[in-house]
Amino acid sequence: MSISAGARSISRATRQSRPRDGFRRFVAVVATVVPAVLVLIVVNLILQARPSLQQFGLGFLTGTQWNPAVETGPFGALPGIFGTVATSLMALTLALPVGVAVSIVLAEQGQATVRGAIGIGIELLAAIPSVVYGIWALYVLAPWTYEHVEVPVSDRAASIGWLGDPAPRGLFTAALVLAVMILPTLTAISRDVIKAVPRGLRESSFALGATWWETTWKVVLPSARAGIFGATILALGRALGETIAVTMVIGNQYVIPHSIFQPAYTLAAVIANEFTEATGTIYPAALVELGLVLILVTLTVNLFAVLLVHSTSRQARLG
């Protein structure tokens, strides 16, 4: 460690003594493509959305109408924002306990083959294309949840409004698919931070007579809390932006539904369904503005998550 640190300071010294490092400049310029693209995306979307931005102003965010039949709308983003946030939060609620459980199992000692297999299985979940989740959810998951979850639940809880009126496609089904899709994101980071909890901490807890559960719940998880939180936010970012699988099962109704089983719409799904057929000036611009809202929210969420994960992993390295 100290040798490489020394080497690094030597190489830094040589770098400073050498005034020009053309190669460094070259790769730095190439690497600048990434932040440049990021800026370009936002600027380009703002330009494309300009007619809608001018027409509706901030009212776009709170508007509940979506009327492509008339050239000037009105267009409002609120039902799309609601659907996006609701599906993502429901997906997180479903996925978080499972993700943390998987991470706890994966971070334990021993039986490396079994744990390796589980780990690969979870990572393969991330390798399945979104559209394959979509077709599976549309033809397998949605009919099954409708018959075996939504109808029985709403029959038994008829008095609770937000559990009523089951439909074959809707918020709940979309959230279920999303939960599966964000599980690998949750698990990858949570496992690492749980693994990084010092062994001594765990062993001291056991030595004091604590049970496995008490050690996990009161010692391990609290010290991994920040990292798990970061992973959760990162997964939230993924869920907010997920398009195709959700588009296929959300039901495509541009309303704020009164029940979690009812059809709704997400920002990404509206764009995917309507953008190629949008004509005129305002309508496509309004769709791009939905994309702008989506990207600004996901950028913020991701930035927050990335900074959080970086700082916790730095702490883990130092501590």
Binding site: I3, S4, S11, D21, F23, R24, F26, V27, A28, V30, A31, T32, V33, V34, V37, L38, L40, I41, N44, L45, V98, A101, V105, I118, I120, G121, L125, A127, I128, P129, S130, V131, V132, Y133, G134, I135, W136, Y139, V180, L183, T211, W212, W213, E214, T216, L240, G241, T243, I244, M248, A268, I271, A272, F275, L287, L294, T298, V301, N302, V306
Partner: protein
């Protein structure tokens, strides 16, 4: 029941629940894979599956036979992902070199942050961006624009994995190269990158698998086509687009094609994924030997 036996009971119960939840997490994987195989295989083994590229005239009575091959979609996916890889992999590897070799500089921190944020950017937004950036100025959909959208998706993945792999190369190699008086570009490109090759290749393969499965960035860029197209200046079909469009149509024959295309897609992406894993395992094995 004593206090301690209750505590150990609670512990054993919650431990079982933890394992149960882990098993639950793997059920979707099994279900998705098994249903895709079960529903896709009958279509895939049908002789017309690949080569009949005529889109059936789907009036109310769509023919019961399979009459929309996926050959053009497979060719389109290979062309577009190939072009995207040609754009993204050189840029990504060079960015990765910058991030790894000059990690202490402030700008590389900014680039790293930008990579991590770009990875999480919704792919539909990339499609909208490339639509405004490349489709509108040229007045037509094209495979090129689809490739650019996929390349943007791949770039941060390639860069970050290359950075990770290069960071693992022992410092001694770097120093011996510099001590021999090699210029930095030769040290990086001829010593460091070859030593990190398995990791770099793994990252590139993972990004290819990811791009091959993406639908959303292609909707407004490559758009899709009904016939076999080789010219990247024209709109082009891709496998994910086939799955997406046919799955939502009310015709059983086309839905069957969608399942078949989904099977081809999943075999492709999971196959690339497993190969990349194998490559990485070899690097680790080599490192252990040394």
């Amino acid at each position: 029941m004593g206090r301690n036996s209750r505590r150990s009971l609670v512990s054993r119960l919650s431990r079982s629940v933890t394992y149960l939840l882990t098993a639950l997490a793997l059920i979707p994987l099994v279900l998705v894979l098994s249903f895709t195989f079960a529903k896709g295989l009958p279509s895939v083994i049908h002789p017309e599956f690949f080569f009949n590229v005529e889109l059936p005239p789907c009036e109310p009575s769509c023919p019961a036979v399979l009459k929309a091959g996926v050959e053009h979609a497979i060719v389109g996916t290979v062309i577009m992902v190939g072009l995207a890889a040609l754009i993204a992999i050189p840029l990504g590897v060079l960015s990765g070199i910058y991030l790894a070799e000059y990690r202490s500089s402030r700008w590389s921190t900014a680039v790293r942050l930008a990579c991590d944020v770009l990875v999480g950017t919704p792919s539909i937004a990339l499609g909208l961006f490339v639509y405004g950036f490349l489709v509108v100025p040229f007045h037509h959909f094209s495979a090129w624009s689809g490739s650019v959208a996929l390349a943007i998706l791949m770039l941060p993945i390639v860069a970050r994995t290359a950075e990770g792999a290069i960071g693992l190369v022992p410092n001694g190699l770097r120093e011996s190269g510099l001590a021999l008086g090699l210029p930095r570009w030769r040290v990086s490109l001829q010593l460091i990158v070859p030593a990190a090759a398995p990791g770099v290749i793994t990252g590139a393969l993972l990004s290819v698998a990811r791009a091959a499965g993406e639908t959303a960035p292609l909707l407004f860029t490559a758009f899709g086509a009904h016939l076999l197209v080789w010219n990247p200046n024209q709109a082009m079909q891709a496998l994910p687009l086939t799955v997406y469009k046919y799955a939502l149509l009310p015709y059983k024959s086309l839905q069957a094609q969608a399942w078949g295309a989904a099977l081809v897609l999943i075999v492709m992406t999971l196959g690339i994924n497993l190969v990349s894993r194998w490559v990485l395992r070899r690097q680790i094995a080599l490192a252990v030997q040394q």
